[in-house]
Symmetry: D2
Subunit: 255 residues, 4 copies
């Protein structure tokens, strides 16, 4: 399948997995393996990098890359500080940037997000910003030096899928960098839809970790992202108002 | 993966493919192989079973089962006659029953369809009825002895996907036999959605045969049906109005 | 506003009201008056025409026409018998024909419905058939002599609105008689949408009678039906993918 | 009907009209009158306040209030300057604040918008900000002192309606000030839907001015806003998966 490369690193899958919500490290490991992902995001504020037996051991054991995130930060200042701590702790300059506006919606704060992204790019980070589905903000984040943008489908953990496919399509069209659908996915068809809209990847956590059978759902997501990517590249049929027979019967013998 | 058995026959895939609209037999063969299907539907009125080099040779070569259909029939009488011709010609009592109401929409005629189904069941056929998405008609078809029912997502060839998921869910809930989504699928996510709604399989033709790259779309559909089936069985997360963090931050050190 | 005439009778409103679910006769009367309707449907099986103080007195007092319905009938035979009783009892040959397929969905049975419609037309009735949203069945009902067809938006009492606007548009396009959206409406915007799709009228009951404030909702529906009808005739703007400024700024002085 | 008061001014209607796109001043006047609006927005950059025969004369003649807007501005600096010019020219401190991110989507730039709003509030303006449908930005605009917020349904002039009703509901829930749906409305049912979601008003232009019959569409919108407001207050029925008869038939005589 076609490569997906960010910042010179080629990833083996277009699915990125979060582990928040997993019932155990064993469950997280099984989900990571079933998903086929090559990149796992972990909240710095949730782990103690020096403690044994953390989720980081799982990540290591699975041989996947780590994408630390700044979940739990509400201001640019907090997020920048968290990103620096993550870089020191984990030895990676990649960071999923989350700057949240409130606890009820966990929606990103656009102003704080852009400010944090600008600062972190200047500090040499590879910034993966979690953003709302605003095409203008997405382009500003790309212009600020983010190599990808990660708009939400719907608020974190809601499982409402892609509330506004039109905006995602506008972001794909105008951002100028790869787009990764991040947040809101509840089931496989929605991950496929994200790829069909032209996204380059999908990031999800709760849809897998909180499913009744997380391993099965992880495998579902693996297939879904492949399906959606293939369909996007295959060139779908146009939508029509009226029917079109797959078979023509003109000139056939009457029965 | 879990088996899908109809009439004592276990099929290797939950995807059923039509070949109408394929640009060539080679294209049809490549699509059949990429899709992983074990069952291909062919319109009797389109093929001459005795002629060499027909689509039937492709079906044979691929080692898949044949599901003759009565496409092009507008009355119960026509459809019954066509089914009998198909049984003689192909040596199979399986038939996809299509009785169409008009050429503009190619929607099924519910009254003629039920009458034809009742007659064909009495004549010993295994009837796979192509029906609209009416839960009442679906149950009547099942009550008449059809071992599956095949409601449409939207009119044939429109690529409009599943216009009324609520009705498909009601059919799955009430039909009492396996449900196969038939017609209207335009892209992979919609095939996955059908399976997530509880369908036991998906039948499609134009979405693959008329895609820009039919082989790639066939492979997309293969993954999509697997993804949707896995997701259905995995037990998706509930939909929520407000966010739920995948990670909780209570009690963490302030930054 | 443009007239709406059925069977030679011009109705003062395109809204038809059911009274089932009203908390009292006074509530029903207030709703009828606020709605501006000229036609009210009542289930024959619910009223005793000879008893004083029935809903019929309300209908009389409001000066609106009565449309008896066959709610509660599950076969053509039952429905035909009920219609005849209604004609004798109420002295009207108008009948809203309901033939229900099951109690869980209250969806119409297409085969029984068509059979009953054919019989009642032959018996001289003016048949208003409550049907599913199948364009083929709708045309068959019109061909059978029904002067209108009444497809559902969604199942009775669900308030799910118009689940499949595409089908409603196909029915408007192909039925050849006026279309009245019947069942499923939950709120005003959905009644407006029905009219915008080209329906000639809307029939609803629970949306008004079971609202917290039935009188206010009745008034809302009155405005909604007018709004939708006006909008349909006014010729809406086309949908566009990209923006179009309402004002052009070319050649303006830079600020 | 319930009052709608902003900044101490009670408006006679919850519909606000733009005149951009009107084919003539006469057409604009007819639309204003048919709409019943009490507030009309005009782009400062489009009018010369001192020239006779401008759209301002129409506004005067109709006896409606003027809401100057900063359409055509792409930065906070431009928008602030335009607002000041408007205040001098028109003698009103009310301003609809538009700061656009690009010409293709005409979507607002969230960062420039918030900066401009903060400055204009500090300068004593009553700021009506045209914003995207981001609940966080909406609350920040309210916190900055805007007495209303005006999220879009979809991009200006697209007629795509309310792409993300969930976000509009979140804004109504969280903004703390009245919400006016601004941009994207294409037809009457969508204006009603905005009100049902809890918006306090609707602003639209192209849907009326570019309709085939602008006066009829203006009247449609007048009814739609009233319908949606009444329905919102009336308390709609809950949505159900299965049917609920409006009439119960238990204990009735069998027919």
């Amino acid at each position: 399948m076609d490569d997906f490369t960010v910042d010179g690193v080629t990833l083996p899958s277009r699915l990125i997995l979060g582990t928040g919500g997993a019932s155990s490290h064993a469950a997280a490991e099984a989900a990571i393996r079933a998903s086929g992902t090559g990149l796992v995001t972990v909240a710095l504020r949730r782990v103690d990098p020096s403690a044994p037996g953390s989720i980081l051991d799982v990540v290591d054991r699975c041989g996947v890359r780590l994408l630390p995130n700044t979940a739990g930060c509400f201001t640019a200042v907090q997020a920048v500080r968290t990103a620096h701590l993550a870089r020191e702790a984990f030895g990676t300059g990649w960071v999923k940037l989350e700057v949240i506006g409130d606890e009820k919606t966990l929606l990103p704060d656009p102003v704080e997000l852009l400010a944090a992204a600008e600062k972190l790019v200047a500090d040499g980070f590879t910034v993966w910003p979690y953003t709302n589905d605003d095409p203008i903000l997405a382009r500003r984040l790309a212009d600020a030096g983010c190599p990808v943008v990660m708009p939400l489908g719907s608020p974190i953990g809601t499982g409402l899928g892609i509330r506004n496919p039109h905006n995602i399509a506008l972001i794909v069209e105008g951002a100028g960098v790869p787009v990764i659908l991040d947040a809101g996915i509840g089931t496989a068809s929605e991950a496929a839809q994200a790829m069909e809209l032209g996204c380059s990847g999908v990031l999800l956590a709760s849809a897998v970790t909180r499913a009744e059978d997380p391993t099965a759902m992880a495998e579902a997501m693996r297939h879904a992202v492949i399906a959606g990517r293939l369909a996007h590249r295959a060139g779908r049929i146009p939508r029509r108002t009226h029917a079109e027979a797959s078979t023509a019967f003109e000139g056939m013998a009457a029965l």
